[in-house]
């Protein structure tokens, strides 16, 4: 986990746009949502692959961000707030789409193609993540999905960097173990 200058630039720009949006600046808000739409799409594709639900996830996240925009504190970082919402909404969309999960599991049962395996493993990964204890899940989501550094995660969670690394190690071990069990 290292500082990425582009990430820092995004944080600074999005924070500023959101502050203006909270004051009622429509132009700033529109620009922010366009950028967030691209960022959310990249996040979903990166984590869940080329699934059909990408645009559903993006639009659901944008709607939620709009509805709860008052819950972002201008004195705090923007990315943790954003990716907490994105993570939860994305998982909700995937969970709700039962037909997607059923069809993917059917594809796995009928064949062993890599393409058929991958969405199911993604669902298993989501399930494994949800099964983690809350402190470990939070670390994974902030560090691996939210892109925060260890220091940033430690600050957000009010724990030491050492504790962040321990929780991350345990969480990754638990997820790997769960996925191995699903394969057998």
């Amino acid at each position: 986990m290292t500082d990425d200058p582009r990430r820092l630039e995004d944080e600074k720009r999005w924070s500023e746009l959101m502050k203006r949006a909270q004051l009622g600046d429509s132009a700033a808000y529109e620009r922010l949502l366009v950028e967030l739409g691209h960022a959310i799409e990249a996040y979903v594709r990166n984590r869940f692959g080329g699934i059909d639900l990408v645009e559903d996830c993006v639009q659901e996240c944008l709607l939620t961000i709009h509805r709860v925009r008052r819950t972002w504190n201008p004195d705090r970082s923007f990315r943790p707030w954003l990716f907490t919402i994105v993570r939860n909404q994305t998982i909700d969309v995937l969970r709700r789409d039962r037909s997607w999960r059923r069809s993917e599991r059917a594809a796995v049962e009928s064949g062993t193609s890599r393409e058929a395996d991958e969405p199911t493993r993604l669902v298993d990964g989501v399930v494994a993540l949800q099964a983690l204890p809350e402190p470990q899940r939070q670390v994974i989501l902030l560090a691996k999905y939210g892109g925060l550094t260890a220091a940033e995660v430690a600050h957000e969670m009010g724990i030491s960097e050492g504790a962040v690394k321990v929780r991350l190690h345990r969480a990754l071990k638990a997820i790997a173990s769960y996925l191995r069990e699903q394969d057998t």
């Binding site: 949502l33 645009e55 939620t64 709860v68 008052r70 819950t71 972002w72 504190n73 705090r76 009010g158």
Partner: protein, 217 residues
């Protein structure tokens, strides 16, 4: 319609006629407003259904331990309400953890002072001011505040429905329990069993009903 065009139209729609938000990212104004409304509901209900224990104002002045006991209860209720509403503001886990620990800690200390009163009460126990149905008045007066809190929390972004509703239930239930300590008779055992326990039960109800009460998305 292409997905990109759909998204562009969605964004344009969301940005049109954008209204400013008041007090962004801060839980305490909402928590304070809720506490005031809950206090009005509780005190109004108590006054309509009976009287306050005679001499309670003098007791608060003349018996510092009793005053401290009541102030601890006020602090517990206030911090529980604040922690409950803080759960609706995502991305600030450290602050939520601090506020939750403080709230539960104060609640534990308040309960501990009442338990201590079983051996060494702050006031001489008596039947003066006894309300016959205090044990169900407490949760009954808590319900409107709990429901109102749920409505307000649904407008935020709650991650863990059960936990948020449990905290809200504890706050909503502790307030009338605290009020009964001035409105009803003073006896530590009576207060624990017939005021505080029914009040804390509202927290349990919240934990069970959390998803139904708070799920919006």
């Amino acid at each position: 319609m292409s997905t990109q065009r759909q998204r562009d139209e969605l964004i344009a729609g969301l940005a049109t006629d954008l209204r400013p938000v008041r007090g962004p990212g801060r839980a305490w104004p909402m928590a304070l407003a809720w506490l005031l409304v809950a206090a009005v509901i509780t005190s109004g209900s108590l006054l309509v259904t009976g009287e306050i224990r005679p001499g309670v104002a003098n007791q608060l002045v003349d018996y510092p331990r009793y005053l401290v006991e009541m102030l601890l209860g006020v602090a517990a209720v206030a911090t529980l309400g604040l922690a409950a509403f803080q759960t609706g503001f995502p991305g600030d886990e450290a602050r939520l953890t601090r506020r939750t620990r403080l709230a539960l800690g104060l609640l534990a200390i308040w309960i501990a002072t009442l338990l201590t009163g079983l051996v060494d009460p702050a006031l001489e126990p008596s039947m003066l001011g006894k309300r016959e149905y205090c044990w169900w008045e407490t949760p009954l007066y808590a319900l409107p505040a709990f429901v109102l809190g749920c409505v307000w929390l649904r407008g935020l972004y709650v991650l863990n429905y059960r936990w948020s509703a449990a905290l809200l239930g504890l706050a909503a239930g502790s307030l009338p329990a605290l009020a009964m300590q001035v409105a009803c008779m003073y006896d530590p055992a009576h207060g624990l069993v017939r005021h505080l326990l029914p009040g804390l039960a509202v927290g349990l109800i919240g934990a069970f009903a959390g998803r139904i009460a708070l799920q919006r998305r």
